[in-house]
């Protein structure tokens, strides 16, 4: 499509503005983590690594990071297993209500977090009579993390078709050998991409977490929220935020590269 120079100029301007609006605040956070003034006045008058040192030695922040990592890893593992199984079920078999199940699986990612949060809170405490803990957070996160794995795997399965598995069986491989040598290697990049996205989703989730975390379970986003408005903690929060940005960006970037490479091979 050819655009007139004017249209092109306007579009370019808009794109630039949107990107600027999205990324300037992030940049400010990064700079503020080195701002010597604890009340983060702008512009910064100097440079300090003090906050990074403080953050590193802050037991609260460290525990929060550890909790978040634990929650993210376990809920990602759960989603990898369940998401893959579900994708196989919906792609390979025909059964009554298949399309409804498909919708129900994807829905949690579209549902407002607050609704999921309240619903799960009621379900855990009211109906099942379970005390909130780190495990309830993990289960809650898994409900929407499954979607990213499911979507990636089912898209791959749709392109693969069943022919490779027939060929493998034909050449003498049993079901498990076929999965190990033929199906799984072709799913690997989809699983990695889906898993990384799931990890990133879980890592910075706050709404559902607030409703499902037991007392004493502090994930990183919750720790940040609690500490943001304490005057002497503000710079440390900025440091943690920078770390969070990195932890979130890297998996997404890797996932995108993997997805891109998988496209190129085909």
């Amino acid at each position: 499509m050819t655009l007139s120079p004017l249209t092109r100029g306007i579009l370019l301007g808009f794109t630039g503005m949107v990107l600027l609006l999205m990324y300037t605040p992030l940049l400010v956070v990064v700079i503020n983590s080195f701002n010597p003034d604890p009340s983060m006045t702008w512009p910064p008058e100097g440079f300090t690594g003090e906050w990074w040192r403080k953050a590193y030695h802050s037991a609260g922040a460290r525990d929060a990071v550890l909790t978040s990592v634990q929650v993210a890893i376990v809920s990602t593992l759960i989603s990898l297993i369940l998401g893959t199984l579900m994708a196989f079920a919906l792609q390979r078999f025909d059964f009554f209500g298949k399309h409804s199940v498909n919708l129900l699986v994807i829905l949690p990612i579209a549902l407002p977090g607050i609704v999921t949060g309240i619903a799960l809170n009621n379900a855990f405490r009211g109906i099942m009579g379970i005390n909130l803990s780190i495990y309830t957070v993990i289960v809650a996160h898994a409900t929407f993390c499954i979607v990213t794995v499911f979507n990636n795997v089912i898209a791959r399965l749709r392109r693969m078709g069943g022919n490779f598995e027939e060929a493998s069986a034909d050449l003498g491989a049993g079901l498990w050998t076929t999965f190990r040598l033929v199906t799984f290697p072709q799913l690997r990049s989809a699983l990695l991409a889906g898993g990384l996205l799931a990890f990133a989703l879980s890592f910075d989730e706050i709404i559902v977490t607030t409703f499902t975390a037991g007392s004493g379970v502090t994930t990183l986003p919750i720790w940040i929220l609690n500490n943001l408005f304490r005057p002497n903690q503000a710079p440390v929060v900025a440091v943690v935020a920078v770390v969070l940005i990195l932890v979130s960006i890297i998996p997404i970037w890797i996932a995108q590269r993997i997805a891109g490479e998988a496209e190129n091979i085909r």
Partner: protein, 337 residues
């Protein structure tokens, strides 16, 4: 035919998909070392029969035997048959050598031994030089040959080929036909070949089964199927035929019944020539140059049209509008059921 040299036997095999009878009562015996073709249009059940033999489908009823042993109900990996798929189904994440060695690998053959055997199989299809490449880097013809090598490396009793040449262009297809035939002779493996291309079936096969609507309508050698088609369906599907229905047969042939006559069995002579035997007067409606010969369409005085294939050596070529006398031998006229 005794059980000892029967590779595959199908006894009253049915495969129904809901209301659709994809395979509707097929009895079949394929001899050891035979090049057997299943010919028919798409939806005639030939591919389903192949998948039943491979074990990808289970029959609704009936028995399938391999070398005298009942294999009905066993899984594909338990059957000593291998398939060359229409789209080859080469594993995209493995290189050519690993693809070919796959069948040996899952049988627990040691790495060095299976690599050697895989290279030998690749040598058989003259593709040793692409052993390190991925399937995506090969041409269609090369993929086809890799798929062949992958299937024959495990030395199955029977090789099933599902329209293996369908995706290739004409030149390559003709070349591969020759290679397939040679390979089959060298290995002595039974080939079961599915195709909708009647010419391919005629050139390659020892015997042909013509399929229609889930049943075998005729089974015989290529020349039997071509020279003695049992009905109108076979006569028109295998090669081209001039078909005479009851009315046309009475008018042109003066005989009761339905008949088929191959275009190349008819000769055109001048109307003045005195000829014995069956004949019909007509006028040339169209001539089409084919290279190897000329197709001449004749409007018969008695009504129907006749398609005639004249060899290109005929000196005085007939032209549009010429009055001609079409002649043929009585024995070339095939009575249809």
């Amino acid at each position: 035919m005794t059980a000892a040299n029967t590779a595959i036997r199908l006894l009253d095999v049915h495969r129904h998909f809901g209301e659709v009878r994809a395979v509707d009562g097929v009895d079949l015996e394929i001899a050891d070392g035979e090049f057997f073709s299943m010919l028919g249009p798409s939806g005639s059940g030939k591919t389903t029969v192949l998948r039943l033999i491979a074990g990808f489908e289970q029959p609704t009823s009936g028995t399938i035997e391999l070398a005298g042993k009942d294999i009905t109900g066993t899984a594909p990996f338990e059957r000593d048959v291998n398939t060359v798929f229409q789209d080859y189904a080469l594993f995209p994440h493995m290189n050519v050598l690993d693809n070919v060695a796959y069948g040996l690998r899952v049988r627990g053959v040691k790495k060095t031994a299976r690599r050697q055997q895989a290279m030998d199989a690749l040598a058989m299809v003259r593709l040793e030089h692409v052993a390190d490449r991925k399937p995506a880097q090969l041409s269609g013809g090369q993929r086809q040959r890799v798929a062949l090598a992958r299937s024959i490396v495990v030395r199955p009793k029977v090789l099933l080929l599902d329209e293996p040449l369908g995706a290739l262009d004409l030149k390559l297809r003709e070349q591969m036909q020759v290679e397939l035939k040679q390979l089959q002779r060298d290995l002595g493996i039974t080939f079961v070949f599915v195709t909708h291309d009647q010419e391919e079936a005629l050139t390659l096969s020892d015997r042909i089964a013509v399929f229609s609507e889930g049943r075998i309508v005729q089974l015989g050698s290529p020349s039997e199927v071509y020279e003695q088609p049992v009905n109108e369906y076979v006569a028109s599907f295998v090669g081209t035929s001039n078909l005479f229905d009851a009315e046309a047969a009475r008018a042109v042939l003066g005989a009761e019944g339905r008949f088929a006559l191959r275009p190349e069995k008819i000769h055109l002579v001048a109307p003045s020539a005195s000829a014995g035997g069956p004949q019909a007067k007509g006028k040339v409606a169209e001539t089409i140059y084919l290279g190897v010969g000329r197709r001449v369409v004749v409007d018969l005085e008695a009504g129907p049209q006749l398609v005639v294939l004249e060899p290109s050596t005929t000196e005085a070529a007939v032209k549009r509008g010429d009055a001609v006398l079409a002649t043929w031998r009585t024995e070339d006229l095939v009575r249809l059921t």
